[in-house]
């Protein structure tokens, strides 16, 4: 009998919690869906920090709609599709004006469907899979980050065209992002392969979370590549470079935009990190705009470091784009905001440059550059 009451109690909890979500009218609520726990928790934490810094910047400049308060509502998706759907549904039920998020394409997918069905704008900041915008028509989905194919193409053209590399090695880590970039790079490489000016001598995956990559690196060494592209993340990239160099792989290492940052330098050790290249959108450290400088300054002030991956900065940009849209539209009316995001983005300056979207919702005008790690561990544009 007692147990039956227990069951009732659970139901009661539902009711209670459902009732508790009564919306307060005053501040504008913007949702941030990010992995606060789980494997990618550090990405979630940085995204949250970045968005808070961006919010501070916006408020410094007088805010929007005549200084109305903005509140960030964080929802954890633990980088897992189920939690993602729940986080999205939760933000929808909390009646936020729009959502920033999330990290990881396969996690973003179910959330984007829910936002779409609820007619809520969602700006992805770390989900780069091509099919997210191209496989399905999504009216309410945008993203401030680039797409896998742009970066992959850039690498292939740069490696064959500028670096004059013939023997090309590509390595990924079987995460959605890294595999995406690697696949797109391979696709872009195809015409050079057909023309016989280049050779794909190595294409394989490592397992993320592992630490000893000597076997696969030994294999890589056997293929004697001219350039070695790794599209995965910095914890593995740092180990790969160090272990690879110790094994005697001498060819240039090129990392994707998630591979190289301060922590990469720490893990690889400066002696090996020096001279490593990366395919990267213009970085805040490199952008001379006052916005970028101010962002880094504030971030450093608050957290004593800078973001170690590119995605958090895109989350900040997503907030800037959203506040711009709200301000221009004059309200948090979704359709009006949508109109601004589609056509009225002229003059919207984000931290990574001007923000505008294609009709599919992809970021317009994302360009990539080749960066290099200097002897001091900084990253600067590479001049061969």
């Amino acid at each position: 009998m007692k147990k039956a009451w227990f069951c009732l109690f659970i139901v009661f909890l539902f009711v209670l919690s459902a009732g508790a979500v009564a919306a307060e009218e005053k501040p504008i609520k913007i949702g941030l869906q990010a992995p606060i726990t789980g494997q990618w928790a550090y990405e979630g934490e940085m995204a949250k920090n970045s968005v808070e810094v961006a919010l501070q910047m916006i408020q410094e400049q007088g805010g929007i709609l005549g200084g109305r308060k903005i509140e960030i509502v964080v929802a954890d998706d633990a980088s897992n599709p189920r939690d993602s759907a729940l986080a999205a549904q939760r933000l929808v039920s909390q009646r936020v004006a729009a959502v920033i998020g999330t990290y990881g394409s396969s996690v973003n997918e179910p959330a984007a469907d829910i936002y779409e069905a609820s007619k809520m704008i969602d700006i992805g900041y770390g989900s780069t899979a091509v099919k997210l915008t191209m496989a399905k028509e999504r009216k309410y989905f945008f993203r401030t980050c680039g797409r896998d194919d742009t970066q992959g193409q850039f690498f292939s053209e740069y490696a064959v065209g500028t670096m004059k590399a013939r023997r090309i090695a590509i390595m990924h880590d079987n995460t959605t992002f890294a595999l995406g970039v690697a696949e797109e790079a391979r696709k872009a490489l195809q015409e050079y392969l057909d023309a016989g000016v280049a050779e794909l001598v190595f294409y394989d995956a490592i397992t993320p979370g592992e630490k000893d990559f000597t076997p696969i690196l030994t294999k890589l060494r056997e293929t004697n590549p001219d350039v070695w592209y790794f599209t995965g993340y910095f914890p593995e990239a740092g180990l790969l470079v160090r272990q690879g160099r110790e094994l005697g792989i001498k060819c240039p290492f090129v990392g994707g935009n998630a591979a190289i940052n301060e922590d990469f330098v720490k893990i690889a050790g400066i002696e090996y990190a020096k001279g490593c290249l990366m395919t990267q959108e213009p970085m805040p450290t490199d952008l001379d705009t006052p916005k970028a400088k101010r962002f880094l300054e504030l971030y450093r002030q608050r957290h004593n470091t800078v973001p170690t991956s590119p995605w958090p900065v895109y989350a900040a940009d997503a907030l800037i784009a959203l506040t711009w849209a709200i301000d221009k539209a004059g309200s948090t009316d979704t359709e009006a905001m949508l109109e601004v995001l589609r056509t009225g983005m002229e003059g919207c300056e984000g931290i990574t440059g001007s923000i505008a979207f294609t009709e599919r919702g992809d970021r317009k005008g994302i360009i990539y550059k080749m960066y290099v790690v200097t002897g001091e561990g900084d990253m600067v544009v590479y001049q061969p």
Binding site: I36, T37, S93, V107, E109, D113
Partner: protein, 602 residues
């Protein structure tokens, strides 16, 4: 009883009403939480079959969930097969997959099974990531999965999904409750409680373990289908070891083998982290701590299964006896009795014969070239000092050990190397030196184990409650009650076996063995632990049995009063060798036997 029944019905009604009303005064977020609650309840119930009912240590259950989800995703996106049709197909594929991967490992026990299931879970997840044949979409998974629809009625909103999953769940619960209270469910429980005793009672261990894996996997496959159609994407990061551990926790939190418990557990696992969203970073920290606390304070689960057998129309004992008699004593066997009087072959006189039976463990010879003959309708005893190899003989005869050489004939048939359940179903029942009951089950359920191989209802008939299944159940319960009565345990039918005092446990074990109406009853030290009066009663009981039924008895005994009092034939063993045999009084005076017990006189 009746009042309680009414009240629990009332509460059930209230819960159902609340569930029906819930979506209309809640928001989509909590409706979705309730949806996933339903999915996890399905998953919890599916693992409950394997882990809870059968006691198999499965920490890779997410693999079967994944198979269901991916089958749905692949067939729907590639060939456009409607989701609803894919429900049975996902179940089938997950079941077949489970059959294929678990059949080579099903004999493993406990922790070894645990690591293997973890391995299977990881292999499936890694295979999905590595995108074999370009089917699984790699780490991105498969997107664009359709929604279920019934004709024009599409399941496409949160509310519809909520009802969809809970209606499926309700059907599943109904089926599982029926299964739990059937021959199948009991067989699983016997395996969980004591595998060897179950096997010796005639339960095909391998078959029922596989069945539980297959059914559990099939149900997980259904959950996978529902999950895939709700999220419209499947990707490998759903089906991790963490997911399997969560399912494990659902079953353990609820209580092993408890259907409401698994549902409650699923509710806690899904709702708890949602409530603690407020403390985002620390919510899993609390969760881990809560799991530990739950196990400290409620190790048996929050809602453990209460064991009670619904007894259809309880009859008076006499009436029951009337009804059981013709069934309990098999008619076919009278022919054997008749032939005793006439000209008979040696096999008809001897129900059990062993021919040069030898058993070794490593270098140790436990039994050597043993020729043993058990007379039909007689009581044969094996005596000998400790370590003489007596119990080993029993274990070889009943199929627990396979002999190194030699043969065992039962009713003239070579049964050497037969599996214990096969031996049991041929008509050999036994008790154990250290009582082996099913401690967590009731007395009636314990006795019903012996009836298992004489019943035939299977999954379908148990779920559908066919007429023959109902009759069979009734027969089984009444037969069990008869034996309970007969062994003097009347009134203890709903008592858990572990709560009985020692002497009664021995009787219960005897009742279980007898309920299978064996032709040969093998008793390993039946009088140990009994006082003189109880031993006396036992002797009378056994002798009466011999008169009443067509039965032969083989026993190991140290109590010489019992041996000499009731045996027709005595075999003495020492160091694995038969040293003497004959009528009791001859053996009593045999010098080699005395020597074996007391040592050589100088």
């Amino acid at each position: 009883m009746n009042k309680r029944h009414k009240r629990s019905q009332l509460i059930l009604g209230m819960v159902i009403a609340l569930f029906l009303a819930f979506p209309f005064f809640s928001n989509f977020y909590w409706i979705d939480v309730a949806f996933f609650f339903g999915v996890y309840a399905l998953l919890g119930l599916s693992l409950n079959i394997v882990l809870g009912e059968t006691g198999l240590f499965d920490l890779g259950h997410a693999a079967f969930y994944a198979i269901g989800a991916y089958i749905t995703a692949i067939l729907n996106t590639l060939y456009g097969i409607p989701i609803v049709w894919l429900i049975p197909l996902s179940a089938l594929c997950a079941g077949i997959f489970a059959y294929i991967v678990t059949s080579p490992i099903i004999h493993l026990r406990g922790d070894y099974l645990c690591i293997v299931t973890i391995g299977i879970g990881e292999i499936v997840r890694l295979a999905l990531i590595n995108n074999p044949f370009g089917l699984t979409g790699g780490p991105n998974g498969i997107t664009g999965i359709g929604r279920p629809s019934f004709g024009l009625f599409a399941i496409d909103t949160s509310i519809r999904f909520y009802f969809y999953v809970w209606i499926i769940l309700a059907i599943v619960i109904l089926g599982l409750v029926r299964l739990q209270r059937s021959r199948i469910g009991r067989a699983w429980n016997y395996l969980r409680e004591d595998e060897i005793a179950a096997e010796m009672s005639g339960i095909d261990v391998r078959h029922f373990k596989l069945l539980s894996f297959v059914l559990g996997a099939a149900l997980a496959g259904v959950a996978g289908n529902i999950y895939a159609s709700k999220l419209m994407i499947v990707s490998p990061d759903t089906f991790t070891f963490m997911e399997s551990s969560m399912l494990f926790c659902i079953v353990m939190l609820g209580g092993l083998g408890s259907i409401p418990g698994s549902i409650l557990g699923a509710g806690i696992i899904t709702v708890f982290p949602e409530i603690f969203r407020v403390v985002a970073n620390y919510r899993m920290l609390f969760f881990g701590g809560a799991l530990v606390l739950a196990m400290i304070f409620r190790p048996g689960g929050l809602w453990p299964r209460k064991r009670e057998i619904a007894i259809p129309n309880v009859r008076s004992a006499e009436e029951a006896e009337e009804m059981i008699r013709p069934v309990a004593v098999d008619q076919t066997r009278t022919t054997a009795k008749q032939s005793l009087n006439g000209e008979t072959s040696s096999f008809e006189k001897h129900i059990l014969v062993t021919d040069k039976l030898t058993m070794k463990f490593g270098g140790l010879v436990a039994v050597k070239d043993l020729d043993l003959v058990v007379g039909h309708g007689k009581i044969t005893s094996i005596i000998g000092p400790n370590g003489a190899g007596k119990t080993t003989v029993f274990n070889v005869v009943t199929g627990i050990y396979k002999p190194v050489s030699g043969k065992v004939y039962f009713e003239g048939k070579d049964i050497t190397g037969f599996k214990p359940h096969k031996v049991a179903s041929l008509g050999i029942a036994r008790t154990f030196q250290n009582i082996r009951l099913f401690p967590g089950l009731t007395c009636v359920e314990n006795i019903m184990a012996g009836l298992h191989h004489r019943m035939s209802s299977y999954v379908f008939s148990s779920i559908m409650r066919t007429e023959s299944q109902i009759l069979e159940e009734k027969w089984a319960i009444e037969t069990a009650m008869y034996w309970l009565d007969k062994t003097g345990l009347a009134g203890l039918s709903d008592e858990l076996a572990k709560n009985l005092p020692y002497g009664k446990q021995k009787l219960l074990e005897l009742a279980r063995a007898l309920s299978s109406s064996p032709k040969l009853l093998i008793l390993d030290e039946p009088s140990s632990g009994l006082n003189d009066k109880e031993t006396e009663d036992l002797m009378i009981f056994l002798e009466n049995l011999l008169d009443e039924m067509d039965l032969s008895i083989l026993l190991i005994e140290h109590d010489m009063n019992l041996v000499m009092g009731i045996s027709h034939w005595v075999v003495a063993m020492d160091m694995g060798i038969k040293i003497a045999e004959g009528r009791p009084q001859d053996i009593y005076n045999n010098s080699r036997v005395i020597e074996a017990y007391l040592g050589r006189e100088e």
